[in-house]
């Protein structure tokens, strides 16, 4: 008897052996780990022992959906990637929307475990419960868009008959912040999951849509419809996303001092009103491009109508992409952010790390630490979008001195240059960089980014929405004590979200998500149950990270990332003034040893992880 919400099968692909097989998923495993990041973390822990490095064939690249993927919940075409990634050489978790999360289930699998490495470039074709490893040597060097076009042509399919996610030149060349990109502009970006895919010589995963209907049991169809409708009504009123996309948040983020400007050298960006989602949707031509069954449709294609890129057609940049290719590089031409967003996506890279890396290089150029000698003639003055485009291409192909240097990410590049410039780079000491925000104006995310076990934000998202989960509201965004307390108390619920195969923008309210989850599975879980699964995942990844060399002294921001803003709305606010106290207090609230940061035995037992105590 299949478990409601699940196909009950996981596909295992051994690229070294050139073999695939299907494995059953039992109910006990699903109830413990649910799906998405939870199930991925379980397989990563079980199958990647200490000593296996990110590029080793023994590393795993784990693709998982969740019980809500393909269920009819709006926008639930999401999948999750878990792997040991190059940015931190620790665990990483990343999600992408689009169609693959739904189609993979329609094609017979809840997830894919990729192991080994192929001797030559291949792609994976999945249809009707069967998988085939196919030659992809003809796709070598192709960017993601070319790859999608060629695969659709050779498979003789229409645009939405298949879902394609793969790597571009960056992943093939193992640039550290390579992403897995597909379905025309959706990205699993974090911790270099595209580089892991490149190390395995896996160019793409292609999944057929099946008959586009749930092929797994759903406990309560009518209940799900009603709860999905309620969740959609809430999502329409949640922030600017429904009307203006995520870019609609840019002006507010600027006003609170959280917009990253010129590698955090300032918080002044007076052009912000011409660089937001409202401006884009009222001045550019916009066409809807929804993900799987999404009523919110915040994803669009746009045609640029003004500026240096007039006539360019691309995906509407999300907030973080506008931030990355607007204020971060000193650009005030909104159309150019559309062009650079497409460039990064087609090359297959994480826009955030790309932007922190290039922003740092531009600061170095403007302060004459880097000259045209090191840049091979590129003028990296602030705002030079043409030079940025060229540099992105050099990074993706590891071309030239600077391209190869920056392909390792900003932490490693800045340490290689050394001197004063080493202090200008924005990163965490674990090795990853923040999302596209100036977190010096948003402390909950700065703290989360440094303390995370997933390589990106773990407990927060757009702050901590305490009232959504019956926690008391916060009073002061710059209170050291409140920040670590709220992060600890909120931690778990967003990881539960990432177990489900949903889009956080289409379904942002945890309780409404839980209602949909119960309608699909029939498990009748409480909010506490959901938190427990999320915290179990957090703690499992933390144990994994300790076993793979994580150091607590690396749970802190770089000098620039943790600096005090010199101007703007957060001027003078100093998060590092009480950093040790924050970390210690957070460890305590999380049930971790105050000094070592390791989960305490009683914490592990409470979460059903007692068998891992010996591993610490």
């Amino acid at each position: 008897m299949a478990v409601a919400g699940y196909v009950g099968k996981i596909l295992r692909v051994d690229l070294s052996e050139g073999k695939t097989c299907s494995e059953d998923l039992d109910e006990a495993t699903l109830k413990k780990w649910v799906g998405g990041v939870g199930l991925g973390a379980k397989y990563l822990y079980d199958e990647v022992p200490p000593g296996v490095e990110w590029a080793d064939p023994e590393n795993r690249l784990i693709w998982t959906t969740g019980p809500l993927a393909g269920s009819g919940v709006f926008g639930a075409g999401t999948f999750n990637i878990v792997t040991k990634g190059p940015m931190t050489n620790l665990a990483g978790s990343s999600q992408a929307n689009g169609f693959l999360g739904a189609y993979l289930k329609f094609s017979g699998f809840d997830g894919i475990i990729v192991q080994g490495a192929s001797p030559h470039l291949v792609y994976l074709w999945i249809k009707d419960g069967k998988a085939e490893i196919r030659n992809a040597q003809h796709l070598a060097g192709k960017d993601v868009w070319e790859m999608e076009d060629l695969l659709r042509a050779e498979l003789e399919t229409r645009e939405h008959d298949i879902s394609i996610f793969g790597i571009g030149p960056a992943g093939e060349n193992k640039a550290y912040f390579s992403a897995i990109v597909g379905d025309r502009g959706h990205v699993a970006a974090h911790n270099g999951c595209g580089a892991v895919m490149g190390a395995k010589n896996l160019k793409a995963v292609v999944v057929h849509s099946g008959d586009r209907k749930p092929n797994f049991p759903i406990h309560d169809h009518e209940g799900l419809k009603a709860r999905n409708a309620a969740a959609f009504e809430f999502a329409k009123g949640f922030g600017p996303f429904y009307k203006w996309g995520t870019g609609g948040a840019l002006s507010g983020i600027y006003k609170m001092g959280a917009l990253p400007v010129k590698n955090l050298t300032t918080n002044q960006y007076p052009e912000f009103e011409r660089m937001n989602g409202e401006y884009m949707r009222t001045h550019f031509q916009v066409k809807p491009k929804p993900c799987w069954k999404c009523g919110l449709v915040h994803v669009k294609d746009v045609t640029v109508t003004e500026g240096s890129c007039a006539g360019f057609v691309g995906e509407e940049p999300e907030y973080e992409q506008i931030a990355a290719w607007g204020p971060m590089i000193g650009n005030t031409d909104l159309g150019a952010t559309v062009m650079l967003t497409r460039e990064v996506d087609r090359l297959g890279m994480d826009c955030n790390e790309s932007s922190w890396t290039i922003g740092w290089a531009m600061e170095c150029f403007n302060k004459r630490v880097l000259t045209t000698k090191e840049t091979d003639g590129l003028d990296l003055s602030w705002g030079n979008v043409g030079a940025v485009k060229e540099l992105l291409n050099r990074i993706a192909r590891r071309e030239g001195y600077l391209g190869n240097l920056l392909a390792d990410g900003v932490m490693r590049a800045s340490r290689a240059i050394g001197g004063e410039a080493a202090g200008w780079a924005v990163y965490t000491y674990k090795g990853s960089s923040p999302r596209g925000h100036d977190h010096r104006g948003r402390w909950v995310e700065l703290f989360d980014t440094c303390l995370t076990n997933t390589s990106t934000i773990e407990s927060s998202w757009a702050g901590v929405h305490t009232q959504m989960v019956d926690l008391p509201p916060h009073n002061n965004p710059f209170s050291h004590e409140e920040v670590f307390t709220l992060n600890a108390k909120f931690n778990g619920i967003r990881q539960f979200d990432d177990c489900l195969g949903i889009c956080r923008i289409a379904t942002p309210h945890p309780k409404m998500v839980l209602d949909c989850f119960n309608a699909v599975t029939g498990w009748n879980w409480s909010l506490e149950d959901a938190f427990t699964v999320g915290l179990r995942t957090v703690n499992l990844l933390r144990v994994f990270n300790f076993r793979h060399g994580m150091r607590v002294e690396d749970e802190r921001p770089s000098e620039r990332y943790g600096s005090v803003p010199a101007d703007g709305p957060a001027q003078g606010r100093d998060i590092l003034a009480k950093w040790p106290e924050m970390v210690q207090g957070y460890y305590q609230l999380m049930g971790w040893d105050e000094k070592t940061g390791k989960p305490l035995p009683e914490t592990m037992e409470k979460l059903g992880l007692e068998e891992l105590v010996k591993d610490l």
Binding site: P240, K255, M256, R442, W461, A462, N476, P477
Partner: protein
């Protein structure tokens, strides 16, 4: 009397009514005069007379998804509420939502 401005970044500016100036859909500004000695808390209590502001910002005490700035500087509620308004003060009410 002191003159103050309160700026709402609510994506519903045009629905707030004629007292508000709404240069764009996402922003509305209210200019008003208050008595000398008025605190920020008293000002916000007075603003509850506008139904949309009451429902979106003040229901269940203060909406925790709101960030406040005074004269372009982010402030905590605990820092701001007891402050006495001075002539020319500008308060911004910002949602804390962020994009992906």
């Amino acid at each position: 009397m002191v003159r103050v401005k309160v700026e709402f970044w609510m994506w519903s500016g045009k629905e707030l009514g004629p007292d508000f100036e709404s240069p764009t859909d996402k922003r509305a500004t209210l200019s008003l005069c208050v008595a000398d000695g008025t605190t920020v808390r008293a000002l916000f209590e007075d603003l509850e007379r506008y139904p949309m502001i009451k429902s979106e910002i003040f229901d269940h005490a203060f909406n925790p998804d709101i960030t406040l700035t005074l004269n372009s500087r982010v402030m905590g509620y605990d820092e701001l509420y007891g402050m006495v308004l001075t002539d020319g003060d500008r308060i911004s009410v910002l949602p804390i939502y962020a994009g992906g």
